[in-house]
Amino acid sequence: MITSAVLDFNAEPAPGRTDNAGPRKYRRRTSVLPGFGLTMGLTLTWLCLIVLIPLSTVFVASHAMGWEGFVRVAFSERALATYRISFATSFVAATVNALFGMLTAWVLVRYAFPGRRIVNALVDLPFALPTAVAGIALTAIYAGNGWIGQFAEPLGLSLAYNPAGITLALIFIGLPFIVRAVEPVLEDFDREIEEAALTLGARPAQVFLRIILPELMPALLTGFALAFARGLGEYGSVIFIAGNMPFKSEIAPLLIVTHLEQYDYAGASAIATVMLVAAFAMLLVINLIQAWSRRRSMR
C-alpha cells in the first residue's frame, strides 16, 4: 500500500522494537534483493529520473527570466494573494483532517461493526478518484442549488465558489493521508498501558491526552504534512468549486496554469519555484517537529 511505504520512509525502527534487534543486526540481515550497493544505486537513479531532474527543470526554466523578472512575477500582488489563499486553505483543511482523520482511524481500529470494511475502503476513495470528478461532485452538492448547499445558503453560509469551497475540496483529497498514517500506530498500540493508567485512577481524558496522543503525534504530524503538501498542489478538484476570482479564491496552481496559457513558461516556473521551496521548507519543519516529538516520547 502506498501509505505504508511513505510511512516507512519516516520510521526509524520504533523504540519498542529495537530492544531485541539492535540497529547493527537490523542492517546486516541478508536480503532477498541483491546487495545494498546495487539497490541504493538503482534507487538514486530512479529518484533522479522521476523526481529530481524534472523538478530541477522548474528552477532552470525560471532562471531564464533573471532575478528581477523572477521577483516581479513570483512576488506580484496577485501571486502573493494566491499563496495566501493556497496556504491558508491547505492548512485549515489539513487541520480539520487531522481531527476527523484521527477519529476515523480510531473507530476503524477500536471497534468492530458491520460494514467496517466498506468504511475502510471509502477512506481510500479520494486516492483513486480523478480529482476533477471530486470537484464536480462536491460542487454539485455544496453549490447554492445542491443537496447540502440549499440548506446552508439561507443561513448565510456559502459553501462553493469561495475559499470555503476550496477548503472542502482539500479536505476531501487529504482525508486518506491522516487515516492511513494514524491507523497502523493505533493498531500497534499497547492497550495494557492504557489499562494500567485507568487502574491507577487516570480519568479517560487524561489517558487520551497523556498516553495516547503523544504516541500518535508523530504519525499525526506525518499525515498532516502529507495532506497539507497535497493540498498546496491540488488543482483538478479545486478549480470547479473555487470560483477562481482573483484576490479572493484564486489558488496558486491556477495562476501557474494561467501563465502557461499565455505561453509564459518562465513565469509559470517562477511561481512553481516558490511553491516548491515553500512546500519543501514546510516538510522539513514538520520532519524536525516529528523528530523532536519522537525524542520526547522516548524519554
Binding site: 464536480i136 491556477l254 505561453y263
Partner: protein, 355 residues
C-alpha cells in the same frame, strides 16, 4: 533441459529489446509508405473542446470521399481540449498532422515557438483566413428571459449575474471579452475609456470565473448560477437543445464579434509522417458544400454562401466586428488585453469589495 542461467538472461534481454523496438520499427514502416495508394493511413487532428460533435460527423464523410478518390483507407484520430493547452501540446511535440483551434493566436504560437513546423504566413494558405466556418458570441438566458436581457447594455445592470470563463485561461472567453469591448466602444462613440469602463462593470457582475468554456456552461446549466451565459453560438445551441431542452433561450445581441476558428496543416509533422497530401485534402474538404452543410447543421456559420442562405433562419444577421478590423490582429489584442498587466488584469488589480 533448462538453458544455462546466462542464456535465459540473454534471451530475456533480447525479448525486452524486441518489445521496445517493435513499435518504433512498425511506425517507421507505416510512415515511409503511407502516401502510396492502397495503404492505410492515419491522421491526427488536434482541436479544441466544442468541435467534438462537429468532427465526429465530418470525419466519416471525409473517409468515404478519400477512399473513392485514392482507394486509400484513412483513419482520423481526434484530440480535444482547451485551445491553448492543445497548442502547447503541439509545441511540446504532440504529433498533430492538422490543428483546428479556437483562435489564430494559438496557431501563431505554434509557428513561432516550434520552428520548422509551419510557416509564419500559414493563415494565407486557405480561403477566409484559413477558417472554413465561423461563429459568434451570443447570450444564453433562462427560459422566458426573466431578467429581460436583450443586448450587452443589460449585462451591466445591477443584480444581473453574468457567467463567462477567464480569458486568461480560455480561448473562447477572449472572444467574449473582445465582443463586450467592441460593444462598449461602439456605445461610447469609439472611446477606449468608455469601452474599458463598460467591460469593467460587466466583469463586476461575474460571480464565477471558470477556466474553460465547457466549465462555464456547466456552471450555468447544471449549477443554476447566473442569469446569462456568454457563449459560442454553437455551444449555446448545443446547451439549449441537448443539455437542457426547453430550459433556455438564446439572445442574439445587436453587435458581436466574428469568431473565426482557423485550421492548418502542421507541415513539419505531416512531412515526417508522410501525410502531407491527405492532411491538405482533409482541410480543403471542409470548404466543400457537403462539409459546409454538416458545419451548418452543427450550428457553426458556414462560409459557403448558398449553404449560408439555406440556413439563414438559424443564424440571425447582426453587426459583426472582426479581430483584424477592430483590434489589429491577435498578437496586438493579446498583448493589450490579456498579457500580464494588460487590461483584463487591471480590472482585477485591486481586491474589490462587494460580494
Amino acid at each position: 533441459m533448462t538453458p544455462a542461467p546466462g542464456m535465459t538472461t540473454r534471451l530475456r534481454a533480447w525479448r525486452a529489446a524486441t518489445l521496445l523496438l517493435a513499435p518504433l520499427l512498425l511506425s517507421a514502416c507505416t510512415q515511409s509508405g503511407s502516401d502510396e495508394p492502397g495503404k492505410a493511413i492515419e491522421l491526427l487532428n488536434v482541436s479544441y473542446d466544442p468541435t467534438r460533435e462537429l468532427y465526429d460527423e465530418l470525419n466519416p464523410h471525409f473517409r468515404t470521399r478519400w477512399k473513392e478518390q485514392t482507394g486509400q483507407d484513412v483513419t482520423i484520430r481526434m484530440s480535444h481540449g482547451g485551445s491553448g493547452k492543445q497548442a502547447r501540446a503541439v509545441i511540446d511535440g504532440l504529433a498533430a498532422d492538422v490543428v483546428t483551434l479556437a483562435l489564430a493566436y494559438d496557431v501563431d504560437a505554434i509557428a513561432q515557438r516550434a520552428p520548422g513546423k509551419l510557416p509564419e504566413d500559414w493563415q494565407a494558405r486557405l480561403p477566409h483566413n484559413s477558417a472554413p466556418y465561423a461563429s459568434t458570441i451570443v447570450f444564453l438566458v433562462r427560459k422566458g428571459n426573466p431578467k429581460g436581457i436583450h443586448d450587452w447594455a443589460d449585462l451591466v445592470k445591477p443584480g444581473v449575474a453574468v457567467i463567462t470563463p477567464n480569458p486568461k485561461t480560455s480561448g473562447g472567453a477572449r472572444w467574449n471579452f473582445l465582443a463586450a469591448w467592441a460593444y462598449g466602444r461602439a456605445a461610447s462613440e469609439g472611446s477606449d475609456d468608455g469601452a474599458r469602463d463598460f467591460v469593467t462593470r460587466l466583469y463586476r457582475n461575474v460571480p464565477v470565473l471558470d477556466s474553460g468554456a465547457r466549465g462555464a456552461t456547466t456552471t450555468f446549466v447544471e449549477r443554476g448560477i447566473g442569469d446569462v451565459l456568454l457563449a459560442w453560438e454553437n455551444e449555446a445551441y448545443l446547451a439549449r437543445e441537448e443539455l437542457g431542452a426547453g430550459r433556455f433561450d438564446i439572445v442574439t445581441p445587436s453587435l458581436s464579434i466574428l469568431a473565426e476558428p482557423p485550421v492548418t496543416v502542421i507541415d513539419g509533422n505531416a512531412r515526417r509522417h508522410g501525410t502531407a497530401k491527405v492532411a491538405k485534402a482533409y482541410l480543403e474538404y471542409l470548404y466543400t458544400p457537403e462539409a459546409q452543410e454538416i458545419i451548418a447543421r452543427n450550428h457553426y456559420r458556414p462560409i459557403d454562401e448558398t449553404i449560408a442562405e439555406k440556413y439563414a433562419a438559424q443564424f440571425p444577421t447582426l453587426n459583426l466586428v472582426t479581430i483584424n478590423g477592430a483590434f489589429g490582429g491577435w498578437t496586438k489584442a493579446q498583448k493589450q488585453f490579456f498579457s500580464d498587466g494588460g487590461v483584463f488584469d487591471r480590472i482585477y488589480a485591486q481586491p474589490h469589495g462587494g460580494r
